[in-house]
Each structure stands twice: as C-alpha cells, then as structure tokens.
C-alpha cells in the first residue's frame, strides 16, 4: 500500500534536502509554496505512481512542451495579478478596462498554449496520459461556438471600438480642455527630422521613466470621464462586457496550473545544472530487495551551491561517484580520511533514493533502485552541547527508534556514528548495530572511521567496502571521488607551457 507520510524533517536536514526544497520553492510565486512544500517531502511507494510522474517529466523534457507549459503558467499568474489589481482601482471604468485586458491575455495564452502543444515538434500524439487529456480538453475548448470563442469575440469587439478613441488635451495654466483628435502634427518628430543630418549612433535616451502603474490621480480620472462623455457608445459596451464576464477562467486549466508546478519548480531549479553539463536521469525502479546501481551520482545540494558560488567552474568541480549493490549486498561501509568526500557521498546516496521516490529526475548519469518506504539518517549532531555520556545516549536512542521503525524496504544512512566514544566502544556498538541492520535486511550506508566494520566476516557477502581518497595536489577541491588516481609526472617547464596552451601544436591550433 502506498505510504503517504512525509520523510522525517531530521533526515531531510541531514541529506541537505530541506535547503534544496526551500531553494526550489523560491522559483515559485509565494502563494504557491505552502501547497507545494509537503509534496517534496513525501515519497511514493507504488511504482505505478512513479511511472505516472515519469511520464509527465518525459513530456516536459521536450522543450517545445515545457516552454509551452511554462509560458502558460506565467501568463495565468500575470492574469491573476492583473485582475486583483483591477479590483483595487478606484475608478470603475478602469476596473472594467483592466478586466477586458485580462480577457485578451487569457485568450491569447490559452490559444498559444494549445497551438504549442499540438505543434508537430511537440509530438502531441506521443504525449503521456496526463498531458494527452489536457490537449483533448484544449482542442474542444477552442472549437468555434464554445463559450471560450464567444468570450474572445466579444472582447475583440469592445477593444476595437475603444481603440478608435483618440483625443486632444489642451493645458493652459490650470484649465484643461479635452477634445476629439483633429490630426495635429507631432512636434517632436519635426525637430528630429530637422536635426537628422547631425544624427550619430549611440545617443542616450532622454526619456524620463514614467510610473507605469495603473493608479490614476484625480485629474486623470476627470479626463477619463470626459473622454467617456465624448465617446458614449464604446464605453457603454465596455460596462456591459465587464458585467457579463466576471469569472472566465477554465477550472480544468486552473487545476493543471497548480499541478504542474511540482515538476516545473524542480526542472527550473535543476535547469542551470543540466546546462552546465551535469547529468540527470529518470531511474529504473527495481522490486524491493533488488539491486541499487548508481552511475556518476553527485550531491545535488552541493552542486547547486558550487554553481552559485563559482558560476564558471562550479560544475567542473563536482566529482561524481558510482556504486552498485548487487543482491545479496546490502551494507555499504565507507571509510577513509577526513575531508575525503564521505559525507557528500552519503548525502548523494540518500538524495537519490528520496528524489527517485518523488518520481523526479535524479542527479546521476544512470540509476536503478528499489523504492524505499522510508529514509532514516543518523548524522552526528555537532552542535549538541550535552556531556559525552549524554551524547552517546542520545545517539543510541535515536538509532534505536530508527531500527524500530525501519523495514526491509527502508534506507538507513549512518554518518560517523558513535565517534563520541572510544574506538573500542565505537567498534563494539558499530558491530552490534550492523548486526541489527543486517537482521532487518535494510539497505544501509554506513560511514565510519572504524576500518574493521568494513570487513566483518559474518556480514562478508552482504558488505561492500568503499574507501575515500584525497586528491593530493589540488586541496581547493571540496569533493572527491572514492577512487584512486595516479599522479601525473611531467617536466615542469613544458608542463606549465602546456598549461598555458603555448606548446607548438596547441598554439597552432589556437591561431587557426
């Protein structure tokens, strides 16, 4: 049965997923965030649900489709803001005009959306079920004679009549006269023509920035009233239109707009990383207990951070790691020096499982894994100010609670657990916890400084040992592969000439 309770906040915190979710919510308007947030915290456990989401993600990976969807959600957002602004304007004529404008925008947005989705590049016949239904709905809405078509025609008529209205203002001292336009010459154009012979490129504009909001002062409001008095017919038609079309948004499209944000927010957030060359994939979902295979996975939160801190080189600085757990392997024991990228690796492992359970693309070149029914983490709490004894107590209580809840479908990630006690004790506790984890048959990643835990004979065939290594000659790198790399040995001068692209061949190539 699908379990639809969110993953514990502490686990999301440990995996840096909380920050990630916050950041991707920021791509959405404030009003939408509260509704979206819980969806990113709750994994799916039914592969069919995941398949449904994958279908939508695949549809959105067609840029023709995703551009169309984005354009539509953006347009709807603008229309809503516009309408609520109109409600607040004091002059009733203004409110009507704003509503009329919103109807035009809406009509254009729906038509553009339908056209873009049914264009040949969008391959409308190849769309998944969800977007396929939407296309069918749009097609029927756009048929002539529907309420939508009538709405547009009526709006066009009112607007065309208002567009005919031109007027002239004469201001002398504090007297203002409003007249019908009589075709006066444009003074500015005359001057520009006279000095055109001195024209040169790149002259700055002297146009003052005028407030573009819709608020009217009393003088403008009186002018608008007089313009309406001089042109009674189009303004009467406007009032009638506004009264007739109060709610014109199609509820099916409004629902779609809310639904699709879950995907768009994630794709918007990961877009820059994809553009920078970082891989993403839709993972294959294995049966419970099946293999976990990750090719070139990385910590998405770290990648995002580096991309922001170092826009040019951030993506290159990301180190990817691959790992595979083939049944009966269930325990991944990670050892190695500090600053070796162990925690980053652990986060990557956890993030991939959570994101896979959300039905979203995961940060890896390729991945397959079973859906976890829950994620448990056990990271050391640096900020804990309790006594040594109390800290170990606390850690053991937390691990016991996790062990009580975990099932064979859960994923447990332990990071430097029990380091607050002696090596002997840590080894003792670690072995016992590993025994319990093995008994539960959970998938477990265990980061430890106790090397012996990686080679316990009784868990031999279910244990995989990974060792982190430091890249010795580039301490500026923050994350490292969990593989060894041979050092380069080249003559110094030639090497730096090569570094600057100044060997004969490199230089010839540059000057070609």
């Amino acid at each position: 049965m699908p379990r639809l309770a969110p993953v514990a906040t502490s686990a999301l915190d440990d995996l840096n997923l909380t920050a990630l979710i916050d950041a991707l919510l920021l791509t959405q308007p404030p009003g939408e965030r509260d509704a979206l947030a819980p969806r990113y915290r709750t994994g799916l456990t039914d592969p069919a649900d995941v398949a449904h989401r994958h279908e939508i993600v695949r549809d959105l990976s067609n840029t023709q489709v995703s551009d169309a969807v984005r354009g539509f959600t953006r347009a709807l957002r603008n229309i809503r803001e516009h309408l609520s602004l109109g409600e607040r304007l004091p002059h009733p004529l203004q409110n009507h005009l704003v509503r009329l404008e919103a109807v035009h925008d809406y009509g254009a947005a729906v038509t553009a959306f339908a056209e873009a989705l049914t264009a040949p590049e969008a391959e409308p016949d190849g769309l998944g079920a969800a977007l396929g239904e939407l296309v069918a709905h749009l097609r029927s809405a756009l048929t002539p004679g529907t309420p939508f078509a009538e709405l547009r025609a009526a709006a066009d008529k009112v607007t065309a009549d208002l567009a005919e209205v031109r007027y002239t203002l004469h201001i002398r001292a504090n007297r203002i006269s409003v007249s019908r336009h009589r075709g006066e010459r444009d003074h500015g154009a005359d001057i520009a023509g006279l000095f055109a012979r001195f024209r040169r490129e790149g002259a700055p504009s002297h146009l003052a920035a005028m407030p573009r909001d819709l608020e009217m002062d009393p003088v403008e409001a009186r002018i608008l009233g007089l313009v309406a008095d001089l042109n009674p017919e189009p303004f009467a038609a406007l009032e009638e239109f506004a009264a007739k079309h109060r709610d014109f948004l199609d509820p099916v499209l409004v629902d779609f707009d809310h639904e699709i944000r879950f995907y768009l927010a994630y794709l918007d957030f990961t877009g820059p990383l994809r553009d920078a060359g970082l891989p993403f994939c839709l993972p294959r979902i294995n049966e419970p207990g099946g293999p976990v295979r990750i090719l070139d996975g990385y910590d998405l939160a770290l990648a995002d951070k580096l991309a922001h801190e170092r826009p040019d080189t951030g993506a290159e600085a990301i180190v990817v790691n691959s790992v595979a757990l083939e049944p009966p392997e269930r325990l991944l024991v990670v050892t190695g020096p500090n600053q070796g990228g162990k925690t980053t690796f652990a986060r990557m492992f956890g993030q991939l499982h959570h994101l896979a359970a959300l039905g979203l693309p995961v940060p890896a070149a390729d991945a397959e894994l079973p859906l976890p029914d829950n994620l448990f983490t056990h990271f050391e709490r640096e900020e804990d100010l309790r006594t040594l004894r109390g800290k170990l107590d606390d850690e053991l209580v937390r691990i016991r609670e996790a062990l009580e809840e975990a099932t064979s479908r859960s994923v447990v990630i332990m990071n430097e657990s029990f380091s607050s006690t002696s090596l002997h004790d840590a080894r003792f506790i670690g072995e016992h916890v590993l025994d319990k984890l093995a008994a539960l048959d959970v998938t477990c990643l265990y980061v430890t400084f106790v090397d012996e835990l990686a080679a316990l004979p009784r868990h031999g065939e279910r244990t995989v040992s990974l060792v982190a290594t430091i890249v010795p000659d580039d301490p500026s790198q923050r994350t490292y592969r969990l593989v060894r790399r041979p050092a380069d040995g080249r003559a110094y001068a030639t090497a730096i000439a090569a570094k600057y692209g100044l060997t004969h061949d490199a230089l010839r190539e540059r000057l070609r």
């Binding site: 203004q94 005009l97 704003v98 404008e101 567009a163 209205v165 031109r166 002239t168 203002l169 004469h170 201001i171 002398r172 504090n174 007297r175 203002i176 006269s177 019908r180 336009h181 006066e184 444009d186 003074h187 500015g188 154009a189 001057i191 520009a192 006279l194 000095f195 012979r197 001195f198 024209r199 040169r200 490129e201 002259a203 002297h206 146009l207 003052a208 819709l214 002062d217 009393p218 003088v219 403008e220 608008l224 007089l226 313009v227 008095d229 001089l230 001068a493 030639t494 730096i496 000439a497 692209g501 100044l502 060997t503 004969h504 061949d505 230089l507 010839r508 540059r510 000057l511 070609r512």
Partner: protein, 514 residues
C-alpha cells in the same frame, strides 16, 4: 554630416570601432609612448585623449592610411586655418557646457535645457559656416577630409534651415499652452502622448466656448473643459505630472537633437586636435634636426620592413641636445622573424622601440621617424617584454611570462607584429630556448611577424640558415666599444657582459679577487 578628418567613411570612435589594441597598456609602457604623447603638446584633454587613442588603434589598410596622410598634409600646409577652426569648435563646446546643469531631470527641465543648448549651438554653427566659407577660399586644400567639411557646411545647413530651427525653438516656449494628443492606454490611462503643433491661425482652444454637457443626447460636444481650483497641492502635482508625461517624448527629441549637434562639434574638435598634436610633435623632432618622412604603407601579407636612418623618437625627445641619436638601416625583406642578439647595452632595446614606434606612427597616418620607412600594414602590434621586478621567484616569473604570452596569443591574428624583449630568459637557457623555439615556430607558421631581442644563444643559433629568419646583432668593435647600431650578424655565444664589467670596474678583465 560626419566629421571625416581621421577616417574616410566615419568619425573617429574611440569607444567602438577605434578601440585600442588589446594589451595596449603593456605596449604603451614598453615603447614609452607617454614620452611621445607628451611631446605632442596637446592643446587640451580631448586632443590628448584622441592622439593616444588614435596611436593605439592602428588603421588596417594602406588606403585608410593614405587618406589620413593627405588630411595631415593639408593641416601642415594650413596650420593657422586648422587652429582657427579648432578654437571655434572649442568655444562652442565651452559655451554649451556653461549652461545651467539639470540637477533633477524632469521632461520639462530637460526640454528647457535642450532648447537653450540648441540656441547656443546653432548660433556657433552659423559662425562656423561663415569661417569655413572664408577658409575654403584659400588655395591648396587637397584632402577629401577638409574639402568635404567645407562643402557640407555650405550645403547642408543653409539659411532656410536656420530659420526653421528658430521657429521651432520659439514654439517650444509654449506661450499658448500645451497641446497634447493621446489614446487610451492600460487601465484607461493616457498613452502615446505627443506634443502637437497648433495651427498658428486657429483660435486658441482654451478660448472656445465651453460646450454644454449632453453626453448621451443627440448633440455631441467637441470639447469639454474643466478648471482646477487654485492652491490645491494635490491637483497641482497631478497637473505637473500630466505635463511631464505629455512633454516626455518631445523633450527626448529636442535633447537628442541637442546631443547630436554638440557631439558633432565635439567630433570636429577632437579630430582637429589630433592633427594639431601631430603638427606639434613634427615641429619638436624637426627642431632637433632629425629626419622625418611620409612612410609608405604596404599591403598586408608582404611581411615587409625596410627603413633608412630609423631612430627612436622617444629617446630623441628625452636625450640632451648634444647626444647623437643613433640611426639604423633595416632591410628585412619578407622574413617573418627578426632575431636581434649581441652586446649588452648595445642599442637592442632602443632599436626594438624604434621599430614599434615607427609602425604605430605609420598606422595612425602620421610621419615616420626615419629618412625612409616602408612596412607592411599589420593587423595588430603587441609587446612581450621581460619584466625586471621580482627576480627571486624564478618559477613564478616564468609562469607570469607564459601567462602574459598566452593572453597575447588569445588576440594574435595572422599579420600581427609581436615585439619580444628577452622573453623566456627567466628560466635556464636550455629550457627557455626550448619554450621560445616552440612559440616562435608556431607563431611564424601562423603568419605572425616577430622581432625578438634575446640573449638566448641556443635559440638564436638554432635559426641559423633559416630563410624565414633575419639575424641582426648589436655592433661591437674589436676593442669592445659599442656603436649602438644594429647590423646584420650571427649570434655569438656571449653577450659581452665582460665588457660592461670591465667598463664599470675599470680593470683589465681579470675576475676580482675575493
């Protein structure tokens, strides 16, 4: 109406088309161009900036160079006329500049300032037109630059034009109020507001009888009016905002027109100033008794360089009058690589500077510091000099040189001239020679021309018998004295540091005993 005293088809544009060469800061330092620029005795900052910019933005074709050479020949033949034109242009700019500054630009204040600008500038334009008519009558104007300028001032801005401008400026006083046309914009706000020109014969719209309001009745009024109460701040502010919105586009148009005319004067002032700078420099060198010539630009692709009595004008301007200025003859044919070796303090650096400076002067349409100078028009000019400071961190220094060379390689194109002074000597001779050799062969094979001053014997010796390399050497007589002349010659394994040591210590050559 473009000023064309520097280019045949456009104005000099230091910010766009005439941007300085990449790495022109290094070029300025290495060739000591500041000395040269100071000797031009620029009449004002605009002239100084233009002279610098033009020197660092070389012309790219022989035709362009000859065009500027012809304008300069006219300036030389009519120096006082050029000074008169320059003074008038400077005066126009100064009068315009002294007009009050708009501190808080609003359309109304921008318009007011622009109308005043146009008043001042069109008056000076009229004066310039009269002056040009008088100067054009002098004999001997031959360049398209000057004759074109005179012709345009005669034909493009005639009396009718000045009258029409005056009428506009009067209307912009708004003695009969402001007439605006408008349409309904977003939310019913007025949009496309434009200033209309009232028919001078029509009755004043404000004087029309106010029509009675029958908005839905059979009679349609043409005009509806209202009067705002006096002494109401909110209304006064609203009215001001309406005026500003209405005047925005005309203020932009008038201010843009004023900008264009002012910038035209500025271009004229700038380009005349450039020619005055060259005239001043010419006089300084001629007073020193040094030869000057109109250099001959050769088509790109020839790699040619030939000179008679070539000297470094920078040295000539700083050395005291009694010092003889060394002059060199060069005949490099079409060889892309010139290697200069030989004695320390033998004149190698001065020679390198004279080649670079003459090339820059050629490509800015000026005279050359030589009795004869012919050279290919280069696509760029770059210098890579060994930096003397920080001699301790050898590896860091080599890396700095390589990084700098890589930066030059980023912008090098076939046909560019690269001047190197003891590059890659920051490491041991074998390694330095190897790096330099790779770079030199790659660059020359890619069409780059190089003059390379070096102590690296292994490097220079390696190019022996290479038809693409001309090898020159600082002259040293058998008794060890230097002539500071650069002559054809193969490299020697020593740079005669011993000579310098002997001169400094006055000993007969034995190493000093500890």
């Amino acid at each position: 109406m473009d000023v064309r005293l520097l280019h045949s088809d456009r104005e000099f544009a230091p910010d766009t088309a005439d941007r300085p060469l990449a790495h022109s800061g290094d070029l300025t330092d290495d060739l000591e161009l500041d000395t040269l620029l100071a000797a031009m005795d620029p009449p004002d900052e605009a002239a100084a900036a233009t002279a610098r910019a033009a020197l660092l933005a070389p012309l790219r074709t022989p035709d362009e160079i000859r065009y500027r050479q012809r304008v300069h020949a006219d300036a030389l033949a009519h120096e006082s006329a050029v000074r008169e034109l320059h003074t008038l242009a400077a005066d126009a700019l100064e009068r315009e500049r002294r007009l009050s500054i708009v501190l808080y630009p609003t359309p109304e204040s921008v318009l007011r300032r622009a109308v005043n600008s146009l008043d001042v500038l069109t008056e000076r334009l009229r004066a310039l037109r009269r002056l040009a008519a008088r100067l054009a009558a002098q004999d001997g104007w031959a360049s398209e630059g000057f004759t074109g300028l005179f012709a345009e001032l005669d034909g493009e801005v005639d009396d009718d034009w000045f009258r029409e401008v005056a009428r506009h400026l009067k209307e912009l006083q708004f003695r009969r109020g402001i007439l605006l046309s408008a349409r309904l914009g977003d939310g019913g706000r007025a949009t496309e507001l434009a200033l209309g020109r009232p028919d001078p014969d029509a009755p004043d719209p404000a004087d029309r009888k106010p029509a009675r309001r029958f908005p839905l009745g059979p009679r349609r009024p043409d005009t509806l009016s209202f009067t705002l109460p006096e002494n109401d701040d909110r209304n006064a502010k609203a009215l001001e905002e309406l005026r500003d919105r209405g005047l925005n586009s005309v203020a932009d148009a008038v201010a843009t027109a004023a900008d264009h005319l002012r910038d035209w004067f500025a271009a004229l002032h700038r380009e005349l100033g450039f020619h005055l700078c060259l005239l001043n420099l010419r006089k300084r060198l001629a007073d020193r008794g040094l030869p000057l010539c109109t250099p001959e630009p050769l088509q790109p692709g020839t790699a040619a360089l030939a000179a008679r009595d070539l000297y470094d004008p920078g040295l000539a301007l700083t050395a005291d009058a009694s010092t003889a200025i060394t002059r060199n003859d060069v005949e490099a044919g079409g060889a892309p690589l010139i290697l200069v070796t030989g004695a320390n303090q033998g004149g190698k650096s001065t020679f390198l500077r004279s080649v670079g400076t003459a090339q820059l002067l050629l490509q800015c349409g000026a005279f050359a510091p030589a009795a004869e100078f012919r050279a290919e028009v280069r696509t760029g000019l770059f210098t890579h000099y060994r930096r003397r400071e920080d001699a301790t961190m050898t590896h860091g220094k080599l890396e700095e040189e390589l990084a700098r060379m890589s930066g030059i390689a980023d912008v090098l194109a076939p046909g560019a001239l690269l001047l190197c002074n003891e590059s890659f000597a920051a490491t041991n001779e074998r390694e330095g020679s190897e790096i330099a050799r790779e770079i030199l062969t790659a660059l020359t094979a890619s069409g780059v021309r190089i003059v390379f001053v070096t102590h690296l014997f292994a490097l220079a010796d390696g190019f022996g018998g290479d038809a693409d390399a001309v090898r020159l050497r600082a002259e040293r007589r058998d008794d060890g004295t230097r002539t500071f002349r650069i002559v054809p010659g193969d490299p020697l394994p020593t740079s005669h540091g011993e000579d310098v040591y002997k001169r400094v210590f006055g000993t007969a050559g034995a190493a000093p005993h500890p």
